[in-house]
C-alpha cells in the first residue's frame, strides 16, 4: 500500500483527520433527522477547517491563500451535500 509522503511525515495529524471523518460518516448513518445530519456536516466542516489551520501552522506555511482554499473546498462540500439532503 502506497502511503503519501505528507501522511508519513505527520501520521498523528492525518490519523486524527481520518478518524474524525469516519466518526462523522458513522454518525451521519446513525442519526435519523435531516436537522441532525446537517449539524454533522457543519461540524465536520468546522473540524476540517480547524485541522487545516493546525496542520499548516505546524508546517509553518499558514497563509491567507491556503486558508481561503480550505474555506472554499469546505463550503463547496457543505453546499453540495445540503442540496441533496431532503
Amino acid at each position: 500500500m502506497i502511503i503519501p509522503k505528507e501522511v508519513k511525515q505527520k501520521p498523528l495529524e492525518y490519523l486524527t483527520l481520518f478518524f474524525s471523518l469516519i466518526i462523522g460518516f458513522c454518525g451521519y448513518l446513525f442519526v435519523d433527522s435531516s436537522q441532525a445530519k446537517r449539524w454533522i456536516i457543519y461540524s465536520i466542516g468546522i473540524i476540517y477547517f480547524c485541522w487545516s489551520l493546525y496542520h499548516h501552522y505546524k508546517r509553518g506555511d499558514l497563509q491567507l491563500s491556503i486558508v481561503v482554499e480550505y474555506l472554499i473546498i469546505i463550503l463547496l462540500g457543505i453546499v453540495f451535500i445540503s442540496g441533496t439532503l431532503f
Binding site: L21, Y48, S52, Q63, S65, G77, V79, T84
Partner: protein
Amino acid sequence: MLKKLWTHYFIPQERNNYRASILKPNFLLLLLVAYLLNQSAIKTLTIAKPGILGYSSEITAQKVFDQTNIERQKDELSPLIYSETLSKSAKAKAQDMFANDYWSHNSPQGKTPWTFFDAVGYKYSVAGENLAKDFPDTDSLMKAWMASPTHKANIVHTRYQEIGIAVVNGTIGGIKTTLVVQHFGTPLGASITSKNTIPQPSEEVVQSSNILGKTNQPLISPLTLSKIFGSVIFIGLAIVLFVDGFVTVKKNVHRFTGSTVGHISFLIFIFLLMLYNQQGSIF
C-alpha cells in the same frame, strides 16, 4: 493550443506554478458559483414550469398495508383492519396538502389530522397519522418510517385496530410527487384488544379501496439532477487532486498549497454522504 490550455488547468507544471489552475481558490470559487447556479436553475424551473421535475413512485396502498402488518407481526401484534372510512380521511388529507401546497401534519389554515377524521365521521378513542413523500418504492418508505421512533410508534401501536391508506399523486412546491398518508385509529367504544385477536383483513376490501396507483409519466428528479451535477464536480476535483499529488511527489515539488491528502479525504467523505442520501421525506 488546446492541449496547452488543458494541461494548464488540470496538470501541475512550471507554467502554473506546479498547481493545476482548477485547484486554485478563484477557480474553486467559480465551481461553487456554478453549483449554486445549477441549484437556482432547478428551483426556478419548479416555479416557472411546475410539474416538469418530480419523483416517480411505485408505491401502492396494498403494499403499504401489507408491509405495515408484517412489521406488526414481527412485534407479535395483531394485524390492522383496513378501514374505508380512514382511507377517505387519509385521501382528504393528501388532497388538502396538494390543494394548499403544504407538507405538514397541520395545514396553514389550522387543520389538524383530527379535522380529517372528524370530517368523514370517524369517531375514535385513539388515532394517529404518518406522512411520506418522494419515495420511489414501498420498501424504502417502510424502512424510513421504521427508522423513525415516532413513525414506528404509530405502526406498532398496541391500541390501534384499524388503518386507512392513501397514495395520491400531485404537485407540491412545483415538484410532482406521490404522497402517502396512513391514518390509524380505534373506533370509539371498541374494546382494546391485545395480541393476535383481531381477524385478518379482507383482501377484497383492500383492493377496492382508494389505491391511486403509480406515477406513469417519466419524471426528472431534482435530487438526481443535483447529485449528477455535484458528482461531476466532485469526481473531477478528486481526479485532478490525485494527478496533482502524484506529479508533485514524483517531481519532489514543494508548494504553499492546501494538503492534497486532506482535500481528497474530505471530498471522499462528502461523496460517500451523497451516495448514502436516500430519496424521500417523512413527517
